[in-house]
């Protein structure tokens, strides 16, 4: 179960990394692209920025939903005492 959640996490992380990486790289290497206005009057910088925030929330919800099956997570057996 632990590896399953971790696997889902990695996939969703990869998706977000692509989105974020795209945003950063466009800003860095083609800033003029960010001035385009796909919706009249609203530029790509704002749309992509808002998109990233919405995407983060959607991916987070998706993750929560996919991991839900574990039920209440009593992983005490797996936990180690950190302190002495």
């Amino acid at each position: 179960m632990e590896t399953r959640n971790a696997r889902i996490g990695m996939v969703l992380f990869g998706v977000y990394l692509l989105l974020y990486g795209g945003f950063v790289l466009i800003n860095a290497f083609s800033p003029a692209t960010m001035e385009l206005t796909p919706i009249p009057g609203v530029n790509l910088a704002i749309l992509y920025g808002f998109g990233l925030i919405v995407a983060a929330l959607l991916l987070a919800l998706l993750y929560g939903w996919l991991c839900r099956e574990d039920g209440p997570n009593s992983d005490a057996s797996d936990s180690r005492e950190g302190g002495q």
Binding site: N5, Y20, N27, G41, N43, G49, F50
Partner: protein, 650 residues
């Protein structure tokens, strides 16, 4: 700008502080064990914990710094919002559940879960302290900045009040009271930011032209000179500090000097040329301060710098837009011309220093694009080094969140991994919503007519002031509790590191449960006192600048070990220790030798800096990973440590 402390503001402020302290004392009776003190018994409901994440994370830098940066430069401040939120994805998908599974009290617990190494505890404990103290400085400075206009106290009083209140919160009930203060603050901050945003959209935009309503004068060329030739007498200086500036100086009828910049634009009736009045702030050698040529006053009605922030022209020559929607807000601004303010410092022959604040009418399409702030200008340059600086910052923001100790300890306040996950999702929702609002708040402040041209940190409270005194009082009090919430979290993280990582684990001192709490309380008082002193010393340092430091150091020191421990089986304790130390030292060293620090902290020429660009992340984060891999491979086979393994290498 002159700030008049208002009775309403003072009353609301003390109500807030009173509620916060009352809550702490009430909860303090319940939290006596160390498990309660450090982790709130692991019994915080996940929803509350999620909002408390927002209260913990949305620091003075988020609220004051980002809004101020957007208000003064446009879109660029929003890049921080995006980066800060993106970091939560790393926290949720990669770090949250293992942190909860492996640790008990501190971030070092999780790192050390496999090895039981004193060296790891020491290195991680020190890095926790370093990051937390870096993060504390801007919070304390922010508190001083806020208190001055709100209550009329000097900077140091604000810092001391925050320090004292926070120490009381942390000492009375540790994580329990801290969590509820953060919950309260997180909800209030998000809710009132939403209220402000609705009010901004309802107000819409007004065109103020040359800013006459704000008290700024303008001369139309050539008409005004032709019609009233005696009104303005030009001042020419062939050399001296004014000679090489773009500023045009005239003496008005009363004999006072005024400074202008020229602005030309096309209209349907042809090209127009205007001279727009700049503002000057002069500090004489004897300490007297002059604004716009007159001795600065300290009461309403006396000479002061004009508050600023207006729209030069709206699309289609409109005067007023009326209420706007969330998207038409941007599309209207895109077609408008907004007056931003630049500044230039001049040293005069008589030893006085003058700062000229001048108008920069800027098309909305530029205000809403990245790359206008000096820190982000690099993306428009052809020099790849400048682009690296930007990439490095965005990387540090992305990796920093999941490495901040005061955020990580919040995973120990809920009962299990599922709750850790759920509360992170709630945190992302509240924080994300708030960051969307920052763009509206910042741009609303930019055009509110209430900005203080000398400091961007006050943009958000002043925006509220433009809506009414009550709102100003409430927003300022919330901003103040914002500082309280974050500072409590940081002090608690530091106290946890001192007690568990250093005293108990590293020095091997056996402490009873109640002694642990006592040591932690003592550590809280000491760290709080250090924070107060640093907050007073660093008064003049930019708030968001230092937060950037903390993110870079956290990401470089902590993230490589955290990630590799989870995903690479051959990681050894020595590898972790080396990675934490190398990441911490290299990122700190880089920052201390960078152009930004040279110019802003030491007052040395930026060209003398020893690092090619200012943001360390893109070099020092990979360096941390490389160190970990290299050292782990060298020490492979000795990984099964017996509790004494790992060198306390510092």
């Amino acid at each position: 700008m002159i700030y008049e402390p208002s009775a309403i503001a003072v009353v609301i402020f003390f109500i807030f502080v009173g509620i916060t302290l009352g809550l702490s004392f009430y909860l303090g009776r319940k939290a006596q064990s160390s498990q309660g003190y450090f982790a709130a018994h692991g019994q915080i409901p996940w929803f509350v914990n999620g909002v408390a994440f927002a209260g913990d994370y949305l620091s003075a830098a988020s609220f004051l710094g980002i809004c101020g940066m957007i208000a003064f430069y446009g879109y660029d401040g929003f890049l921080y919002s995006i980066g800060y939120l993106a970091g939560w994805i790393v926290a949720l998908f990669v770090v949250a559940e293992p942190m909860k599974r492996l640790g008990k009290f501190t971030f070092a617990d999780a790192l050390d879960a496999k090895f039981q190494s004193r060296g790891i505890k020491l290195a991680a404990g020190i890095s926790t302290l370093a990051v937390s103290i870096f993060y504390l400085i801007p919070q304390m400075v922010g508190a001083g900045v806020l208190v001055r206009p709100l209550l009329g106290f000097p900077h140091w009083v604000g810092v001391v009040i925050v320090g004292a209140v926070v120490i009381i919160i942390v000492v009375t009930a540790g994580m329990v009271s801290t969590t509820w203060v953060q919950f309260l603050k997180g909800s209030l901050l998000v809710a009132f930011s939403a209220v402000l945003t609705v009010m901004i959209l309802n107000r819409g935009f007004q065109s103020e032209g040359t800013g006459e309503a704000l008290g700024l004068r303008a001369i139309q060329k050539p008409d005004d000179f032709v019609n009233e030739p005696a009104k303005w007498t030009p001042i020419f200086e062939a050399d001296g500090p004014w000679a090489d500036t773009p500023f045009l100086r005239y003496r008005d009828e009363s004999g006072a000097d005024a400074v202008f910049t020229q602005y030309e634009f096309d209209t349907a009736d042809g090209r127009q040329t205007w001279l727009l009045e700049a503002q000057t702030l002069t500090e004489k050698a004897n300490g007297d301060i002059f604004v716009n040529g007159q001795l600065k006053g300290d009461k309403k009605g006396e000479p002061e710098l004009h508050s600023v922030g207006h729209i030069f022209s709206l699309p289609d020559g409109k005067e007023n837009t009326g209420p706007l929607g969330p998207l038409s807000f941007f599309s209207t601004l895109q077609e408008s011309v907004v007056v931003l303010w630049g500044n230039q410092k001049l040293s005069m022959a008589d030893g006085s220093k003058t700062t000229v604040y001048f108008q920069k009418p800027t098309p909305g399409s530029q205000v809403l694009r990245p790359g206008e702030h000096p820190r982000f200008k690099g993306i428009r340059s052809d020099d790849p080094i400048d682009k690296l600086n930007f990439l490095s910052l965005m990387l540090a923001l992305f990796c920093g969140t999941a490495s901040l100790p005061h955020i990580l300890i919040r995973y120990y306040t809920v009962k299990d991994a599922a709750s850790a996950r759920k509360s992170t999702i709630v945190g992302i929702a509240s924080i994300g919503f708030f960051y969307v609002l920052t763009l509206y708040l910042g741009l609303g402040a930019m055009t509110s007519g209430w900005m203080d041209v000398t400091t961007s940190n006050m943009a958000a409270p002043l925006l509220a002031r433009s809506m009414g005194e009550w709102l100003f009082a409430v927003i300022s009090a919330i901003a103040f509790t914002t500082v309280l919430g974050t500072v409590s979290g940081l002090i608690l993280a530091s106290a946890g590191a001192v007690t568990h990582d250093l005293v108990i684990s590293f020095f091997g001192i056996k402490l009873s449960d109640s002694d642990q709490v006592r040591v932690a309380k003592l550590a809280s008082v000491v760290v709080g006192a250090i924070a107060i002193v640093l907050g007073i010393l660093f008064e003049d340092l930019n708030v968001s600048y230092l937060v950037g430091w903390a993110f870079s150091v956290a990401a470089s020191a902590n993230l490589p070990s955290l990630i590799m421990l989870l995903f690479w089986k051959r990681t050894t304790s020595q590898g972790i220790i080396a990675a934490v130390i190398v990441g911490m030292v290299s990122s700190l060293g880089w920052i201390l030798l960078s152009a930004d620090t040279f110019a802003k902290v030491y007052g040395l020429p930026a060209e003398d800096a020893l690092t090619p660009f200012s943001q360390p992340g893109i070099v020092t984060i990979p360096l941390g990973f490389l160190t970990l891999v290299a050292v782990s491979l060298m020490t492979d086979g000795t990984a099964t440590s017996d509790g004494t393994g790992g060198q306390p290498a510092v």
